[in-house]
């Protein structure tokens, strides 16, 4: 897991509002430093690092909600969606490792054969699920990229004008939790 970027330039005796801009701008850049690497579905490490960075950004934003308006909360929810999608991909990656290790640990005897069938069935199921979840994530990521999500977020956290309208535009781009669930439910049954 990549270390959190150090935030420099905060001023303890300056206002909470002013410092929010300094801290959050760094956190946005940290998260987006993984933007290119995650285009490769097999780059498990980059996807994991993006997930952790988004988590750090989200928890940092939660600290500063009081300094911002309603539009800030829309971005916070957008990040929570992304974190959830990346979390699902990560869970599939963890399952892959656990099942593979478990298979290797089974004794090579006939009486384990039925056990192997079950684990292989799970492996297949999770590989399919992972592929679908990655596609859903990438689709959402691309939509947000086209909508200038990063720049809009930076404008909001640094207090630049024009962000209110952008947030309203962005709201329509978020898939509802129900829609996302629908997209992937068939893989669970």
């Amino acid at each position: 897991m990549a270390k959190a970027w150090k935030v420099k330039g905060t001023q303890p005796q300056s206002s909470y509002r002013w410092n929010a801009q300094v801290i959050l701008a760094v956190k946005v850049e940290e998260a987006y430093s993984w933007a290119e690497a995650i285009r490769n579905p097999d780059n498990i490490k980059a996807l994991h690092n993006l997930r952790i960075s988004i988590k750090r950004l989200r928890y940092s934003m939660e600290c500063f909600t009081i300094n911002y308006g309603e539009e800030f909360k829309d971005f916070l929810e957008g990040l929570a969606d992304l974190q959830g999608q990346l979390g699902d991909i990560h869970d599939c990656d963890v399952v892959e490792t656990v099942l593979t290790d478990y298979l290797q640990s089974l004794p090579d005897q006939a009486d384990t054969e039925t056990g192997v069938i079950g684990i292989n069935a799970l492996l297949l199921r999770y590989r399919e699920m992972r592929a679908a979840k990655y596609q859903a994530f990438l689709q959402q990521w691309t939509v947000l990229e086209e909508a200038d999500f990063k720049d809009q977020l930076l404008r909001i956290v640094t207090g630049e004008s024009g962000a209110e309208t952008s947030s309203q535009e962005f709201r329509h781009l978020r898939p509802s939790a129900a829609e996302f669930k629908k997209q992937t439910t068939h893989l669970r049954t």
């Binding site: 959190a4 935030v7 905060t10 001023q11 303890p12 005796q13 300056s14 206002s15 909470y16 509002r17 002013w18 410092n19 929010a20 801290i23 956190k27 988590k55 750090r56 928890y59 940092s60 939660e62 600290c63 009081i66 300094n67 869970d91 963890v94 399952v95 656990v98 099942l99 478990y102 039925t114 056990g115 192997v116 069938i117 079950g118 684990i119 069935a121 799970l122 199921r125 669970r188 049954t189």
Partner: protein
């Protein structure tokens, strides 16, 4: 996942340091509020909520590090919180896997049932092993008066 508690007494025009102290102490209390549920272990959400709260606390501590002049002591507290996240993470990973495979067990074909059930039993044993370091950590936190010392250091 539990929502972050509201922090009382913070305002945009107040100094970062005062707000930082209020946020960090609130997050610490929030994290510790899940401890007894995590020890009990019946509801797996307590370990999860405590871990998430520890991550929120870490994020706040890292962001506000410049507010604290006594760096060595600050780092010691941060390390402790990091240890809490990691120890709870070991347990949480298995809670999630067991829960997931238990649901899978109901939907895989009959021929695959035995394998999935064996896997669940294997993970349940491992879970018990991983809860032991968590108990040791909680005991160590109590013995060292971690919570009281932490709150004293960060109080407004």
């Amino acid at each position: 996942m539990a929502k972050a508690q509201n922090v009382k007494g913070i305002a945009p025009e107040k100094s970062l340091e005062e707000c930082a102290r209020r946020i960090i102490t609130t997050r610490l209390q929030e994290m510790m509020s899940f401890k007894s549920g995590a020890i009990d272990g019946t509801d797996i959400e307590y370990v999860h909520d405590m871990r998430v709260a520890s991550r929120r606390l870490r994020a706040a501590m890292q962001n506000f590090a410049d507010c604290f002049a006594r760096k060595k002591k600050f780092r010691r507290h941060l390390k402790r919180v990091e240890q809490i996240t990691h120890t709870l993470g070991d347990v949480r990973d298995l809670d999630v896997l067991i829960d997931r495979f238990q649901k899978d067990a109901q939907t895989v074909p009959e021929a695959a049932q035995i394998g999935v059930q064996n896997l669940i039993s294997h993970l349940q044993r491992e879970r018990e092993e991983r809860r032991a370091p968590m108990f040791t950590m909680f005991e160590a936190l109590d013995k060292s008066n971690f919570e009281q010392k932490f709150l004293k250091f960060f109080k407004v």
